[in-house]
Amino acid sequence: MRRSMLFMPGNNAGMLLNADALGADSVILDLEDAVSPSEKDSARILVRNALKYLDYNNCEIIIRINSIDTNYWKKDLDEIIPLKPHMIMPPKISCAKDVQIIADYMKTVERRYSVEKEISIIPLIETALGVENAFEIAKSTDRVKAIFLGAEDLTADLRCKRTKKGDEIFYSRGRIVTAARAASIDAYDTPFTDVEDEEGLREDAEFAKGLGFTGKASISPRHVMTINEVFSPTVEEIEYAKEVMDIIRIAKEQGKGAISLHGKMIDAPIVERARQTLEMAKALGGV
């Protein structure tokens, strides 16, 4: 399940202990913005040890490494890859080549340590160029399983103010979702900026869901519950999904090639969507 993605500062021993117990589907252990330059070494070792010794069974583990224009990113990968996190999140990805550089280095580290698994990548797109190149980034390598929009740095690059309403990132959001779906991968929306405003968060998350995002990131654990709720299938969605699966079964039994439900043709993408909805519902105990 990929409804919520929670940032956790990589150098905070207390928070790492509980990272997987905060209800988020995925947790991002952050070696980048949450860690000051003088502590990059410290955070890297702490996160490596957390992965090695703590049991993070309940959620997907993502590591946000430092960007490729720093001296840190290779050391981050050297330290982390052997511990086999689920995904690596490289920040400030502007083009397919950026992803390739990282993927290539990941491969050498995987080889060096005989890591059989090919670790996935979730590029963080937070530049204007990155938004424009979203599709090529999404398709750059098989390792890319999702793309993630980061509006804070993006709005700086766009030379506009970051607002709660988000008009300024409307195009970027649409672009990210479209690019991701065109490449058959997931899309994550940017975190909501106001930690205290729960109403605003809900609206923002509903809007993102409405645009087609798979899930939403968060910098505050307090937002996780609402995000999970919003991105979980609703009762109506589950009912509809059941109807779709039923009618497809009936169509098969009757040997019909095409079938319609409520006046709409049911084709493969709709069936796939219904199947995923029911899977999620089952996992959540709703069916």
Binding site: L17, N18, L22, P221, L284
Partner: protein, 467 residues
């Protein structure tokens, strides 16, 4: 006619206090209280010795008591709660006679029955008239409910009211009536308002606490108790309060009309009352300004005595009608016994308060606590002190799982069906130990420094000294 006496010293003289007697105080001024120290200093100056002090609670501000103990002014101590500063010294074995720890319900019961008869009661009152009609609802040192003080007023041989806000006779909105009062003393300040009540109590910002609160709310939802007529009590600590917040949202969404909220009242419960979640609040103690304001303005917000709240010998008490109570713990063992008297090293830093009372009465008793606190597991093989017996504790909610007392199979089945993370308490202990490692056992001394007196009058455990 007037009961006003010129000084505290005079009032003490007039009361007929003698060496060896028992004097009493209430703790509604909490860590902002000046009265206990003021009275004890005067008593010490007057040369009294070997007194027993019975105070519903003692906080860190009362550390001067230690000197009075060293000087033999005080040789006996009876409390329902003792803060860490005084507790640490008591744990070292300073007193010859062990401290008697009771609960908020047990204290009035034993005073009323004559087990711990009070010779002189000192009642700090934020507002009083010259005849002793007094209240905690008004005044610069307002504390709200005087719930714990009623038994002192009604059963002590002599009652001295100490106030810093004298009003004209009669104080019409009195809590304690003049019929019980012997003397009234006016002082400049009975306490420090900022220590008496919090400006506002806040729910926890700690994400782990919020997780626990979310689970706790789900347990309440699945228990079958959350319907019209629902009654609820929660602690003042961060995570406990968050449950109140989530419950309010749930009750408003599903249009559930509860009967009463109980406690320990904070602004959150007042919000629930004002939004119609409850028909009334039964208030034995106010924790913040909002609660103090509400009790003086809202007729649905009622002051109740400690006896009414929780006495095991009253004809009936509110705790016996309580649906759900949320409580904390420093330790809980695999038999669900809970320790709220000492920390993990054995130092006294708490007490039952209303813990064992509410656990005994409530239909659903929930302990919420983080599974580990700084490398110490909350779940242990054996608690260092049994404050509340396991048979009265139903559920432990942590951020890593929910343990249900085997005595409550019905509840356990419901929670499992609702896909909540139910886990055997021994397994929960295992998870904690995997994270922290296995701690060395603490070896306490052989001297009994505290008796834990349960609601039924028996001593369910003793607290030993820390070496």
């Amino acid at each position: 006619m007037s009961k006003i006496v010129g000084s505290l010293k005079e009032a003490i003289k007039l009361s007929g206090l003698k060496n060896g007697m028992r004097i009493s105080f209430h703790h509604h001024l909490r860590n902002g209280d000046h009265v206990i120290n003021m009275v004890m200093d005067e008593i010490a100056n007057m040369g009294y010795k070997e007194l027993t002090v019975n105070s519903s609670s003692v906080f860190d501000i009362h550390i001067p008591l230690i000197d009075h103990i060293k000087n033999n002014v005080v040789t006996g101590l009876e409390v329902n709660y003792m803060g860490g500063a005084v507790g640490r010294v008591i744990s070292s074995g300073l007193m010859e006679k062990p401290v008697d720890f009771r609960s908020h319900g047990g204290r009035p019961s034993d005073i009323e029955s004559g087990k711990t008869p009070i010779d002189v009661a000192f009642i700090a009152a934020p507002t009083s008239d010259n005849m002793g009609n007094c209240t905690g609802k008004y005044g610069k040192s307002a504390c709200g409910s005087l719930g714990y003080a009623f038994v002192d007023a009604m059963h002590a041989k002599k009652v001295i009211v100490i106030t810093d806000n004298l009003v004209d006779y009669p104080l019409y909105d009195f809590s304690i009536a003049e019929t019980y009062v012997d003397y009234v003393v006016c002082v400049d300040k009975i306490g420090d308002p900022s220590g008496i009540v919090s400006g506002t109590t806040r729910i926890t910002r700690d994400p782990v606490g919020l997780m626990m609160a979310a689970y706790a709310t789900k347990v309440i939802q699945q228990s079958g108790l959350l319907k019209d007529g629902f009654s609820f009590q929660t602690g003042a600590g961060g995570a406990s309060l968050a449950v109140a917040k989530y419950l309010k949202e749930l009750m408003l969404k599903e249009n559930i009309k509860g009967s009463f909220g109980m406690g320990g009242i904070t602004g959150y419960l007042v919000d629930m009352l004002e939004s119609g979640c409850f028909a009334t609040l039964m208030d034995v103690q106010c924790f913040d300004l909002k609660a103090v304001q509400s009790i003086s303005n809202n007729p649905k917000h009622r002051e109740v005595t400690a006896s009414h709240y929780a006495s095991p010998t009253a004809k009936s008490a509110i705790v016996d009608n309580l649906d759900v109570v949320i409580l904390g713990a420093t330790q809980i063992d695999t038999d669900f016994n809970v320790n709220v008297h000492t920390d993990s090293n054995g130092f006294i830093m708490g007490g039952s308060g209303g813990h064992s009372d509410t656990a005994s009465g409530a239909k659903l008793t929930m302990i919420i606590a983080p599974l580990t606190r700084a490398r110490l597991s909350i779940v242990v093989d054996k608690v260092l002190c049994v404050s509340t017996p396991g048979r009265t504790v139903d559920v432990l909610v942590t951020q890593r799982g929910i343990a249900v007392n085997p005595l409550r199979k019905d509840l356990k089945d419901r929670l499992i069906e609702a896909k909540l993370p139910v886990i055997d308490i021994n397994d929960l202990k295992g998870i904690a130990e995997k994270i922290t490692g296995i701690p060395k056992n603490i070896n306490l001394g052989n001297k009994v420094v505290g008796n834990v007196i349960y609601r039924d009058g028996t001593i369910i455990d003793t607290i030993k000294n820390v070496k």
